[in-house]
């Protein structure tokens, strides 16, 4: 090892050791900075991977929603029966078309009140999508199925009653439904997010909220994932030929946009991490200037007996690199532990922790920490090397 054998490296090591406490304090800034950026990077990588995995399990869904619906828009804010017919004709029978009525309403279970999403769809389609965990699919107009998360929150069982609507309101009046079944957990899903919803029969829904034949959302589960792009084009042609009436999204492009959003959040948090690195750079700069100032005489001696400017420079750059290596290595250890805990707390899983994308952040963090220290040492090293040897010798 040529560096370890270098007398200037030896001098730097000894100087760091001589001022061990001060050096350690200066390195703490780098430790914090490296922990910040590395943990954020690791958390981001884990987030991206787990979201992507969740979403790509649902990569075969096309989502159609009304284009209009804005307050000042006179476009329709629903998908009509006619449009649904076109959709069904376009996608054929091999793909499952899910036409959904959706709303949200106030609910009361016993003494507990809250709000919930209420969906209605064809019961045959529902049977195709979700199984019931306990109980059965609704058979009467006033029976509903509920998602497992909602059931847990309101302690619902088969046979429980839910009052839907506001008891002080006349239209629509508060009405009671009975839970006939609790659905299986589905996790993140694109075709129907049923875990937190109440699902009713279509007839009950349109009786209560009106708008029969005006769907809020139509989702298509595509049998052959490779046919998605083609189907999207065909649907676009069929529905939006004259005018953009229906917004068509496939889950693949949604995954991309969610990943991009996560990317922005991570970049923002990294910027905060970068600020802590900047603060660290200032403290390294400070300690290096201090080191140069108190060694002026020594620099004069070294120069007068034949040490070149570049060698003096090297000596101080080694010193800041050593501070960087100490700080970054400590930072790497802490961020390994810290980000493991952080990932577990935030994502409830460390499934993606020991992956390349996740752990690569650690060497990146170390490298950035060291580079920042070395850069912080450039000016002090330059100052040391450009001192006049005679002046420096006179110092005390």
């Amino acid at each position: 090892m040529i560096i370890l054998d270098d007398i200037f490296f030896e001098l730097s090591v000894r100087n760091v050791r001589l001022h061990f406490l001060r050096s350690l304090l200066a390195a703490i800034g780098i430790v914090i900075g490296v922990v910040a950026i590395t943990s954020i990077g690791i958390l981001g990588a884990n987030m991206t991977q787990s979201v992507t995995a969740d979403l790509s399990a649902n990569g075969n869904v096309i989502m159609l929603s009304p284009q209009g619906g804005g307050f000042f828009s006179d476009d329709d804010d629903y998908i009509s029966q006619k449009q649904l017919a076109k959709i069904e004709k376009t996608v054929g029978t091999e793909n499952l078309v899910i036409a959904i009525y959706s709303d949200s309403d106030k609910i009361t279970v016993g003494s507990e009140e809250g709000r919930a999403s209420i969906y209605a769809l064809d019961m045959d389609v529902l049977k195709n999508l979700v199984e019931v965990e306990t109980g059965d699919y609704p058979t009467s107009l006033t029976s509903v199925v509920v998602g497992p998360s909602l059931a847990e929150r309101y302690k619902l069982k088969v046979g429980s009653r839910i009052k839907i609507g506001d008891k002080d309101k006349e239209d629509p009046k508060q009405t009671t439904v009975r839970v006939s079944g609790i659905l299986k957990e589905r996790g993140m899903s694109m075709d129907l997010s049923s875990d937190n919803a109440i699902i009713t029969m279509e007839k009950w829904f349109t009786n209560r909220y009106g708008d029969e034949g005006k769907y809020d959302q139509v989702n298509i589960v595509v049998a052959d994932i490779n046919a998605i792009d083609d189907l999207v084009d065909k649907l676009d042609h069929a529905l939006n030929y004259r005018k953009d009436e229906v917004r068509i999204m496939d889950s693949g492009s949604l995954i991309e946009s969610i990943s991009a959003t996560i990317g922005i959040i991570i970049a923002f948090m990294s910027a905060i991490g970068a600020i802590s690195l900047l603060v660290a750079a200032v403290s390294i700069f400070n300690v290096m200037l201090m080191s140069v100032t108190e060694r002026i005489k020594e620099i004069g001696i070294l120069r007068s007996i034949g040490t070149r400017r570049s060698e003096i420079r090297r000596m101080f750059l080694y010193e800041s690199a050593i501070l960087g290596i100490i700080g970054s290595t400590l930072g790497a250890v802490f961020s390994l532990i810290g980000s493991f805990l952080l990932t577990y707390l935030m994502l409830n899983t460390t499934e993606y922790f020991f992956t390349m994308q996740s752990l690569i952040q650690i060497p990146y963090g170390i490298l950035i920490g060291i580079v920042i220290c070395v850069i912080s040492g450039v000016y002090p090293a330059w100052k040391a090397s450009n001192m006049d040897p005679i002046e420096a010798l006179r110092a005390d």
């Binding site: 054998d5 100087n15 020594e298 120069r303 007068s304 007996i305 034949g306 400017r309 005679i390």
Partner: protein
């Protein structure tokens, strides 16, 4: 004499420019010093002795005039070349000893050798030099601040010799020593001179100057008197 001088000054002037005025520290000095000489530069404080030694030691360059060190015109050299000249041709002995505090005694002597060869010493030469100046092997792992001034100056002499320099420069070498150790250090320098080393020494002390064969008296940046001393 057909031999070339190892130090040659031709009309060397050194002017320090200050914000308000300028100081002529050396005024048109011409001087030749040959191999094997032992020269004492004398004069009152502020007369320009240190300035002269700094020029010869290549720590600084003259404002005008020519200075040759072992035949090299220093005005033609850049900073790295001047540095290498100091390393290879000059052995410096300071009043303050000026050992490197982070290095132990052996490493202090080895240091200029590492600068020159770019590698650690494996020949044991630094140890040999330390033994020669009277510091046995027992102390060589100590740091400079752990030994006395006289011992530090011996280490400094060993360090000055390690690259086999053409010239040894001493700036008040006994200025920080008591009279007993002063004599020991001066005897050592005299021995070195007897072995053929060229020594240029700045001193204001008559007894120290008496060891030199040639004495040059400075005043206001000019040589005002020169004496040759045969009884040393």
């Amino acid at each position: 004499m057909t031999e070339e001088p190892v130090i040659k000054l031709e009309n060397v002037t050194k002017i320090y420019v200050l914000p308000t005025d300028q100081v002529t520290a050396l005024n048109n000095v011409s001087l030749e010093i040959y191999k094997g000489e032992f020269v004492a530069i004398m004069g009152q404080s502020g007369s320009g002795k240190s300035t002269l030694l700094n020029q010869i030691g290549c720590l600084d360059v003259p404002t005008s005039g020519k200075l040759y060190i072992d035949g090299n015109d220093v005005s033609l050299l850049n900073d790295d070349q001047l540095t290498d000249l100091r390393r290879d041709k000059i052995g410096y002995i300071f009043q303050q000893f000026n050992l490197i505090p982070l290095l132990n005694l052996r490493e202090n002597v080895e240091y200029p050798l590492i600068l020159k060869t770019k590698k650690r010493d494996t020949t044991g030469y630094p140890e040999k030099l330390l033994e020669m100046v009277g510091l046995g092997t027992s102390r060589i792992m100590h740091k400079p601040k752990e030994i006395s001034g006289g011992q530090q100056q011996r280490v400094a002499i060993a360090r000055a010799l390690v690259n086999d320099p053409t010239i040894i420069l001493c700036d008040e070498p006994t200025g920080n020593l008591d009279s007993k150790t002063s004599i020991q250090v001066m005897e050592m320098l005299k021995d070195l001179n007897n072995q053929g080393r060229t020594i240029v020494m700045v001193t204001h002390d008559e007894e120290t100057a008496a060891y030199a064969k040639r004495q040059i008296l400075f005043s206001d940046g000019e040589i005002i008197e020169e004496r040759f001393n045969d009884n040393s």
